[in-house]
Subunit: 210 residues, 2 copies
DNA sequence: TTATGATAGTGCTATAATTAACATATCTAT
DNA sequence: ATAGATATGTTAATTATAGCACTATCATAA
């Protein structure tokens, strides 16, 4: 057990491992080796062991890992042993897609509030959540002890929404607007930029040159 | 000019720089320094210069970079000097959101075809693109010389769709299904896993422990 | 024309991440 | 019991990435 500085790449892989283990578990498989996990998710066996070694010893030498146990351990590491209350701000096309995204619920992310500015949307039900006007954001989010905010508003409004989420004491923000946002250092911020992803692809497609 | 092995992190940053430069250019600013770019996007000035150095010399010592020029150079590097034909497979909530995502069009990604299995969707118009049944995928995609496929279908169908895209000779695939996909090495594949992003956040929120 | 200030480009250093190698532990079969 | 096969955990080596500091170059103004 090394501990202390864990690369972000490791966290991302752990998340992928856990999802793969869920799949493997569903097939009724009891034990799995680092090599099989590696094969399944497309990394090296050493990488799998190294990633796990940051957090402890979860396997049995000569045998492998118990699928259920390892999965549980990883979920615990990722902070997924209990549910998270999530607020979604912005109910455009992307927001709507996110609101019904199964992958969130499956992993314990519960969307407990949804906000939009559009009066024609406010009051509507999305699943069993009522859409509210953004003016209520701080109050509702704080009351619910919501810890994660998802920002899916047009770029020009993103910073303002983020500021209000910070005021409402969320701990982490997932931003889908293609802008650089400023948050206090204690707030975790991640940006998902869809166009960037395509551009990495086009670079690579064109990259015989480099 | 160093060339040859460019880190992916560099490509991602270049994409961010270029977007920032677009913004700066709109404000009518002519010249910008590495320090100002760095400030604007939240990296170090050395990093900005290093990233650009992979591809050439674009600035003037003692002065900085011409905003328009640098922007154009970066777009060229990323392969964005001409448009890309993109096909979208899967018109669920996410697919629908992607189909109308402005960020794609702005950067020259043109969705030229959309496929779904649901007969109630086939035939509908999304913008000026007619939704087609997946059975036509190979034919249409190949005919259009579409080079990029976006996969937004449920996880169990993703591999099959990817196989068909490969058969249809796309060069790159952006996958939104949370599964590990197999493609031949010459095909560029990127995965966008929305839940993973949230899980990196929760880990960090919980990570006082580590 | 020359001195000064500013800033890009670059080589070197330090840090981080990945891969490889190995020593240790477990299970199975004889 | 013991030997052999297997697979983890860990240390070492390699590779990749980022940061720093120096050098070269340009613009400006005296």
């Amino acid at each position: 057990m090394k501990t202390l500085k864990v690369p972000e790449a490791t966290i991302i892989r752990l998340s992928v491992y856990s999802r793969y283990l869920t799949e493997v578990d569903r097939k009724g498989i009891i034990t799995i080796s680092s090599g099989e996990i590696a094969e399944g998710v497309g990394v090296s066996p050493a990488q799998v062991r190294k990633d796990l070694a940051y957090f402890g010893e979860f396997g049995t030498r000569g045998v492998g890992y118990n699928v259920k146990d390892l999965r549980q351990h990883i979920l615990k590491i990722l902070g997924l042993s209990s549910d998270w209350s999530v607020t979604l701000v912005g109910l455009g096309n992307l927001g709507l897609a996110l609101s019904s995204f199964k992958g969130f619920m499956e992993r314990g992310f519960i969307i407990t509030s949804i906000f939009d500015v559009d009066p024609s949307k406010v009051g509507n039900m999305i699943g069993n959540v009522k859409v509210m006007g953004v003016e209520q954001l701080e109050e509702v989010v704080q009351q619910n002890c919501t810890q994660i905010g998802i920002v899916a508003v047009p770029a020009p409004f993103a910073q303002e929404i983020v500021d209000r989420l910070v005021k409402a004491k969320v701990k982490a923000i997932l931003n889908f607007s293609p802008v650089v946002l400023n948050v206090p250092p204690e707030i975790e911020l991640r940006n998902v930029d869809l166009a960037v992803n395509l551009e990495v692809l086009t670079f690579n497609v064109c990259a015989q040159r480099y």
